[in-house]
Amino acid sequence: MFDSYRETSLKYDPARCINCRRCTQVCPHAVFAEGKEHAELEDPGSCMECGACALNCPVQAITVQSGVGCAWAMIGAALRGKDMDTECSCGGDDSSCCGQSKETGCGCGEK
């Protein structure tokens, strides 16, 4: 109850994994851990769907519907009659919502 974040779109097939460990290097929430023969899906509930693991997996053992968990952008898109799933994430200098009003407020200003 009152936890909308327990399930995500992250899927991992350990059978395809070649144990290159890139996923453990790019995940900012330690969702993957190093294992003996393949990476271990350690903490899927912490996944924020940034997509770094899937994009950097050389054998497509990981899939995730990546996107930015930003209510501001999604509600804005819905109000303008656009698709909530494809509308802007942060950044960009033209019509992006964040570019105009919230770009530094993305939790990552210092990095």
Partner: protein, 332 residues
Amino acid sequence: MAEKPSAAEIHITDSTITLTNRLDHFMARWGWKRESHRVVPGLHRLGNPAAESMVFASANYTLSFDALRSALSGTDAWILVLDTKGINVWCAAGKGTFGTDELVRRISSTGLSDIVSHRKIILPQLGAPGVSWPEVLRKSGFTVEYGPVRARDLPEYLKTHKATPAMRKVEFPMVDRIVLTPVEFVHIAFPMIIVAAALWFLAGPVAALAAVAAVLAGTVLFPVLLPFIPTQDFSTKGLILGAVVALPFAYWLGAAPALPFWANALGAVTPLLIIPAVVSYIALNFTGCTTFTSRTGVKKEIFRYVKVMAVMAVLGVLLGVILGISRLLGVI
């Protein structure tokens, strides 16, 4: 526009953060001319790098670039600045501007492969959502190494080129949450002033104060108290915080002397409906500023709670209007 590899200019930088830099960082934090905190994209020379010196990639946002060059104090290195339109690494990676294509393009337009003798480029870990290392290797011949999340961990990281689990993890500590509050407050300050002024004339100074309190609670208190408020969902956290903030106003209106019971009751309920709804909505909108909310989860929140907030706000405004009309008509 295509730049000729041979003609690409190499910019010169150092590790010193000047007073002007600090002022620029401060203004960036307040959202002042938010598109203008930029660094020239291209290759920058830090110290006296040679052909075998390390290459680091960064965004053309001053806060990102300055964090990198100051962390590399005393190191001779090349810094390849990508054109991320003045957006920090992580947000730009999410958008794709800090991405495979821009990286490959910059490597080629700066003629990097003629300048350095090795084929390795160190990226901030948070660039990874935009970069596919196998594709970069295929298209440019350069191997991507993902450094730590935070530039300040670079000196330690570079000793072994292995990151500790802590270096790989994004946290969202109090200080990071606090630096986000000015921009949160600023972008909602103008509508707040209008609403507060209108409420002052229609319902008196306390109502105006309630509007200011709701916005401050949502934009400042909420980020600061985020991990300490019960429940996981931002909307429910906001409802809880909003209810706490509404209590004094509910008491003030509910205990107002010389009013009939029904007017006191309506007066007490009104802030308890409106303030939590407002704080909850602002809280939900903070999801995009955090470092951990998934799109799936935020979407669930939107579908679960926005209706509730809307119903609460509409009911509260109706009650407020009834009270206001009663007062004007001299009923109370």
